[in-house]
Amino acid sequence: MIPVSVLTGFLGSGKTTLLAHLLRHPALARTAVIINEFGEIGLDHDLIETSDESFVELTTGCLCCTVRGDLVRTLGELLSRRDAGSIAPFERVVIETTGLADPAPILHALMTDPVLSDRLALAGVVTTVDAFHAFDTLARHPAAVKQVAMADRLVLTKGDLVEGEPAELKAELCRLNPAAPLVPVVHGAAAPELILDSGLYDAGSKAPDVARWLAAEAHGHGHAAHDHHEDIVSFCVYREAPIHAVALALFLETLAEHAGADLLRVKGILNIVESPERPAVIHGVQHVFHPPAWLDRWPSADRRSRLVFITRGIPRSWIERLLDLLEHEVAERSGEPLRQGEPAA
């Protein structure tokens, strides 16, 4: 599987500067880059030095809406050229979105296209945040809030323009997305491993990343982090008892059907009745879910099911109640004695 990173961030937040620095790193020498510019004249391309043809610029519109088909086609063509040996065998893909992009449709395309999902794995969403302008941007532009909420990594740029520690901004970003580590970067200089390796599905990084985003429980345990931006809330849901696979399927289906538009990100590690030794890792963006990835073993002694939600106004209590009712219903119908789920208080 070839990892694909999505680099997003509001206009002027330093995406291209970051990308330019990252691509100079030897570890990223074999990286294919797709840049989407909003407008007819692409400038970002000229700002990034690349040495081969594994560089595609989409200028037909905003990647998140009008050129989603172009993205799928472009990635398909890149893979074909790689297979044919007409370009260097790239080992990673980075997609830089426009500053106005909603990342969700891009993730949907990567997760659901049958050809792409066979060969490409979403390695994470990286969102740049301009430390100088972020408060104003987040207050005015819902797209910027969504970019932050959906991130696996938040890269804080332009910190050198701010006097002192931007503690208030960091707290705000943590409230919006407690699961995403915040990486301060000056003039784009960052170690690639801190920025890009945030995926769940790469065999080498599964366990560490699971541990990392589950660290969000430090913020979400027992109470929801709540922000005024579009009513975005983040929280963790726990269950002590294993969950039936059928209940999980019903749960995801019901979430998607009734609350998909407001379900910004869901990540979870689950103790499944049918697979007690191998936990399932799930990842969803709105109504689209990646099939469970099955870890070889539990990453720690903690075998509770833990789900991290970032939502727009969906109450945690509704999610917990729904999961409880569905699990009880399935347990009852399978003729098993009821195992009471005990969400940690």
């Binding site: 949907h108 997760m111 659901t112 049958p114 999902s117 066979d118 696979a245 399927a249 019903l250 995801l252 289906e253 019901t254 979430l255 998607a256 059907e257 009734h258 609350a259 998909g260 538009a261 407001d262 049918e274 697979s275 191998r278 399932a280 109504h287 689209v288 879910f289 990646h290 099939p291 469970p292 099955w294 106004g313 969906i314 109450p315 209590s317 509704w318 109640r321 729904l322 009712l325 569905l326 009880h328 219903e329 347990a331 009852e332 009821l338």
Partner: protein
């Protein structure tokens, strides 16, 4: 264990209205749940013991049996907000069981 109790369903439906972005109310008594929203009203009652499904959803036009919590939510939403269109889960095309 029996099917979910009326109290549990009532509590779920009360919050579900907000998730659907519908203003309305859910009233509960020993016999039924009444849901009113978007200018419509329906009642959920326990089905007679001789049928396979646990609940009936009654509107002014018809009465319909529902067999599960997921079906109940879908039926109630369709009755209250028939224009919502619905969004179905999409799973990326890979196996869903442990290898």
């Amino acid at each position: 264990m029996a099917a979910a109790s009326m109290e549990e369903l009532g509590a779920l439906l009360r919050e579900t209205l907000a998730v659907w972005h519908l203003e309305g109310e859910v009233r509960l008594d020993a016999q039924e749940i009444e849901v009113a929203a978007a200018g419509r009203r329906l009642h959920i009652v326990a089905a007679p013991g001789d049928v396979l499904f646990p609940w009936l959803v009654r509107t002014a036009e018809k009465s319909r049996g529902v067999a599960s919590v997921a079906a109940l939510l879908r039926t109630v939403r369709n009755a209250l907000d028939p224009e919502h269109g619905g969004v179905r889960l999409r799973l990326a095309p890979r196996g869903v069981l442990p290898p």
